[in-house]
């Protein structure tokens, strides 16, 4: 019988074992955070009510900043590690492999820092400043 499982065997040690463990733990946490986020934004609320005031109101509470920050960091690390595995699988020429990994971490890191900065440092301006 054909096996339907495709998950790579558990690595025996080193960084790949940590990667294996991290993907499973962050994946489970993200299941709650990301699906919760989408339920709040697209089912309980929707894109018709999301605007600057909506975000400012949410970010008045540190709980929601913490929620978004945890989700951002875990999702980006989970996603970058997943993309690294794809690059390992598909790009075999050493020079292109190094280039792809370098570019992935550079671009991913830049997005991660931008996202963290916005969540942590956002200061809402008063509602009267726009029509």
């Amino acid at each position: 019988m054909r096996s339907l499982s495709y998950s790579t065997p558990k690595p025996s040690g080193g960084l790949e074992l940590w990667s294996w463990v991290f993907m499973r733990i962050s994946g489970l946490v993200l299941l709650g955070l990301a699906l919760g986020h989408m339920a709040i934004m697209h089912l309980i609320n929707n894109v018709d009510v999301i605007d600057y005031q909506f975000v400012a109101g949410r970010y008045a509470r540190w709980f929601w900043r913490g929620y978004d920050l945890s989700m951002l960091v875990l999702a980006m690390l989970h996603g970058l590690n997943g993309a690294r595995i794809l690059i390992d699988d598909y790009i075999h020429v050493p020079m292109w492999h190094r280039l792809a990994i370098g570019l992935l971490y550079l671009v991913g890191g830049a997005f991660l820092i931008l996202g963290i900065g916005v969540i942590v440092f956002f200061q809402p301006v008063s509602a009267t400043s726009h029509p």
Partner: protein
């Protein structure tokens, strides 16, 4: 790189495709949200784009991608930790698909309702 065959191959490919798709959207979403730092005018102008019908349909696709990736990930974890489940892989996969449709049909209805004037 390709893997085995049948259902396992498709769920494996879909896991990778939805993963990459969600990562690309995450970067786009960081860019649009970072506009809140520039003030209400800029943020509201760009975020309004998400109300266009084409974006609403893509948002359903995003929801479906995250949901599939999540449920399929749970299936992988279950099989990793309880090897006995390997004997029920086909049933487990159909259970996953059933759960996916059970959640996705009402979600798509709620998200697309504004398009048809509720």
């Amino acid at each position: 790189m390709w893997y085995r065959g049948g259902i396992g191959q498709w769920s494996w490919a879909l896991h990778r495709i939805t993963g990459v798709g969600v990562l690309v959207f995450l970067c786009l979403h960081i860019l649009d949200t970072s506009l809140i730092a520039l003030g209400p005018e800029h943020y509201n102008t760009i975020i309004k784009l998400y109300r266009l019908p084409v974006f609403r349909i893509m948002e359903v696709g995003l929801f479906a991608s995250v949901l599939f990736h999540a449920l399929n990930g749970v299936r992988i974890i279950l099989i990793d930790f309880w090897e006995d489940l390997t004997r029920f892989q086909r049933q487990l996969f159909y259970l996953e698909l059933g759960g996916f449709l059970l959640i996705m049909i009402p979600v798509a209805y709620v998200m697309l309702r504004p398009l048809v004037g509720r």
